[in-house]
């Protein structure tokens, strides 16, 4: 019983859950899945998508990283609250976390997988996405305002992928969106984030491995 997390080290989606659990001080068993050979537990716990992360709480599996993060916030109903109490102030973070979900991973994948015009198109889109997020952040400390919150958790794992995006597509996130880089640095001061995110060089090593595997030079 207790809390078990089926995950894969480099996954930004898994990292969202690890950060949320750390913020709430929840003890859990971390299980590293080999995605080339998924465990029976994973296939039984997430038969629909067969993906990580999966949080198993007292034997009950919860799937989909943002759903898991909200679940954690609900069950461990104590500070820090990742979503505020007011309905409108809950709707806005849900919208922006969903935006991050819909846009960043897919566009980021195109950045390292494609070349030429398609990659240039993806680069343009990624810059637009980051600028929209920068506008939403404004001059707040975090997307959640003074408090680290839902959107911060949703987006911060992708910050260790920025270096890979920059190397593959030839641009600088800092030059285009300095506010996002500054926000990322503030997040890295938090224990939960510092302990969870990998060095961007290590992530880039992984991306290079993926590129080789997919035959992208």
């Amino acid at each position: 019983m207790g809390v078990k997390l089926l995950d894969a080290w480099v996954s930004p989606f898994g990292q969202r859950v690890r950060i949320a659990l750390a913020e709430k001080g929840v003890e859990y068993e971390y299980v590293e899945e080999n995605l080339a050979e998924k465990s029976r537990l994973l296939l039984e716990s997430n038969p629909v998508h067969k993906k990580i992360p999966v949080l198993i709480h007292d034997g009950n599996p919860v799937c989909e990283s943002l759903i898991i993060v909200e679940y954690i916030d609900d069950v461990w109903d104590k500070k820090p609250h990742l979503l505020p109490a007011h309905p409108y102030l809950r709707a806005q973070p849900r919208f922006w976390a969903d935006f991050v979900d819909k846009k960043i991973y897919e566009c980021g994948t195109r950045l390292w997988k494609l070349k030429g015009e398609e990659q240039a198109e993806a680069k343009k889109e990624m810059i637009e996405i980051l600028k929209l997020l920068a506008a939403e952040l404004g001059d707040k400390t975090y997307f959640g305002g003074d408090a680290f919150g839902f959107v911060d958790v949703a987006l911060v794992p992708f910050t260790s992928w920025f270096y890979s995006y920059e190397r593959c597509a030839g641009f600088s996130v800092e030059a285009e969106c300095p506010e996002i880089v500054a926000w990322a640095k503030r997040c890295m001061e938090r224990e939960s984030v510092k302990k969870t995110l990998y060095d961007p060089e290590k992530v880039y090593e992984f991306v290079c491995f993926l590129k080789k595997r997919y035959g992208v030079e």
Binding site: V62, Y71, R90
Partner: protein
Amino acid sequence: MAKEVKLLGQWVSPYVLRVQIALELKGVSYEYLEQQFGENKSELLLKSNPVYKKVPVLIHKDRPICESAIILQYIDEVWGAGGPAVLPSDPYERAIACFWVSYIDDKFGPSLVGLIRGKTDEENAAAAEQAILGLELLEEAYEKSSRGKRFFGGDDVGYLDIVLGSSLRWIEVIEIMRGIKLLDNAKFPLLMAWAERFRAAAVVKKLMPEAGKLMEYAKEVQARMNAAAAN
């Protein structure tokens, strides 16, 4: 006095229908503003949903809320007292309901759109396969989550009922257009019975678009697509 609640919608959209059902269930009075199709988007829509420029958008006290699943949660939280809870109160049950809503929006819904827009036999076959797989999963999910009760949510229409139920009219239209059976009584007896109960609910009967009108609209869309493809 301007209404405190406005809904920007389009009558054909199942996503808009979801929001209308939720508002009616909670007894919220609102001003409905039908939006134009195509490129002529209203200033209000562009201002309220600059990111996606789509309906539905709920505007409450001049503040916009976008994305139907998020709007439904908002309605449930703000007008909690107006009617039975739309989302389950138990966090685990809520996570399961959200999981299926996410599945419907990410996989099942797009397979229906694929069936409407498919140009080749292969595309249509692939979309139909995905749609039927979705129904198989949802039949199982209904059995597990309803525990013998009338709806996914239990005794009352809930989150998942609204999200899946809002696509029923489109499923009917697709079945006629494509000459296929999706909601097959033999394969999905529980969902068929659930669908009848859902359609019979007073609030749904009042709001569901007419099958005939939706069919006409679908034919127009197809004709426009064929014309564009021919050029």
